[in-house]
Symmetry: C2
């Protein structure tokens, strides 16, 4: 067996570690596709990525997350630091092609080699997206991007994933999205390290701030700091960027408990995703199981008993 | 072993099949909690639930899904039919308590015994919500509710779940949620059997309708029918309800292919969720695996290799 066959991504990994962005992009694609050597490549880079600071940015559609991230990127670039952006779109499970708007909003950084932007959309199921996000963050962290924003629509599993992947979670809302119960669900409040009311120049912004402050006062835990921004006009972004830098400057010891919780969830998620892939592939490849599915479709068998049969056959 | 121990939910199942709503609610709770006998109970009721027509209603936060469902419920009740509503909230993974707004919007039906409303929020992960939704629908279907609305925020896994559980998917949007790229992602368009622009009395509604029509014209498949409603004023709801009835009247043969696809996905989802539970429990119960998680948290081990170790130990 030649060395090439044993570690086909060695050169790509070395290039990534040397800060070659072409190599980093190739490595991300290889990880996405689970190319030969992908696992070894991840194993090689992961231990070196602990120094990057990962900021999750989440919130409902239409609150201006991409515009806010773009403004935070500009603030980062103004102080000369390189920055990575991972834009995760869990609401495009079928086409994977709905990130046009995000790309437009990010276009001010399109020609800046100090900014690396990667869009990810679901392929089939959530687990794959979570895996792709972790892998992309791991590559950016070793390719010379000490600050990484992970932007995702806040709903369901995606916000758990962002909380698992990030050192700090920024939850964004905006006025005019219907009442606050709808616009900012309790689950989002609970994962927020910082809270932002974006589109703060719009009518109703102060009402939204007041409503949020009241909601937070009712909460069990100390309220996260609240910011008002108008990212499209770069208003309030400096204050938010400064708050992020203060959190980033915390000693590593303060982040240890969080990182352990995250590690446990990440490991379970990866193992669970592999189990799911094995099950889906097993069902597709085993013609005997087709009759089981037919029976469920015809309601002569319930899906829970069918899952038992599936687990038994694939054991 | 007494009969009581062998089938502890027999009486509850019998009550549910006889249309006793207290029994149905008790059965739902028992299924949620995975009480002893839950599996047998599902096995007993599932084959009898094939006649119910399940309508999924999904869309971004703030488009007025609950108000629209409430208006559709009123239209159903006006013709004397009983109707079930399952309100699924995947954006409350931690607290499970963000459905207050939905309950307020549904309150016009609170005293009507012909309407059964059940709210579900995630507990920990998406799979559990999907399972709880299927089980709730199965109970409603045999408890005398021939029409069931499943309302969920459209994002990520949740919209796949609603597409898997429903005979028809209604995708709802509204004007004023930011641009259409944000407000109605491609993934949602692709699962829509019917499309609704709600809040149709608002400024920009006709622009939203025109934008959607243009987007749909670009799509690969035939465009789904498009409706304009103002659910809060009961406008346009009759037309939508009529369209649903036409789809409901289709011969069962036309739904067979869809039901088979759904059955396959449902069985995989259940089996995958069980695998995930086994993994999470295994990690929590095996102290030897704590060191593996610590190593990931300290970045001396990558999470992918840790997942391999986990799978090996739990095999």
């Amino acid at each position: 067996m030649s060395d090439d066959r044993r570690a086909p991504l060695d050169a790509t990994v070395a290039g990534t570690l040397a800060g070659d962005l072409g190599a980093a992009a190739a490595l991300m694609r290889a990880l996405d596709d689970e190319s030969p050597g992908a696992r070894e490549a991840l194993r090689a880079i992961y231990p070196r990525g602990g120094g990057a600071f990962v900021v999750g940015v989440t919130g409902s559609p239409g609150v201006g997350k991409s515009t806010l991230v773009s403004a935070l990127v500009a603030a980062t670039r103004a102080r000369g630091e390189r920055v990575g952006v991972v834009a995760v779109d869990p609401s495009s499970p079928f086409s994977g092609g709905a990130l046009l708007g995000d790309r437009v909003r990010m276009s001010r950084h399109a020609t800046d080699a100090g900014v690396f932007i990667r869009s990810l959309a679901t392929r089939g199921h959530q687990g794959g997206l979570s895996r792709a996000t972790s892998a992309t963050v791991a590559v950016l962290a070793v390719a010379g991007f000490p600050l990484i924003f992970v932007e995702t629509v806040g709903a369901g599993q995606a916000e758990l994933d962002v909380a698992d992947a990030a050192d700090v979670v920024v939850v964004v809302t905006a006025p005019g999205l219907g009442d606050e119960v709808q616009a900012l669900k309790a689950g989002l409040l609970e994962i927020a390290d910082l809270l932002v009311v974006n589109k703060g120049d719009r009518e109703g912004a102060d009402r939204t701030l007041a409503d949020l402050t009241a909601m937070l006062a009712l909460g069990a835990r100390p309220a996260p700091p609240l910011f008002k921004t108008a990212a499209a006009r770069d208003q309030g972004v400096g204050e938010l960027a400064h708050a992020l830098e203060l959190l980033r400057a915390r000693p590593a010891g303060e982040r240890a408990a969080r990182r352990r919780r995250q590690a446990a969830r990440q490991v379970v998620a990866i193992a669970a995703e592999r189990a799911r892939d094995r099950i889906a592939t097993g069902l597709a490849e085993n013609p005997a199981l087709a009759a089981t599915v037919d029976a469920v479709a015809e309601r002569t068998l319930d899906p829970w008993s069918a899952a038992d049969q599936l687990a038994e056959v694939l054991k």
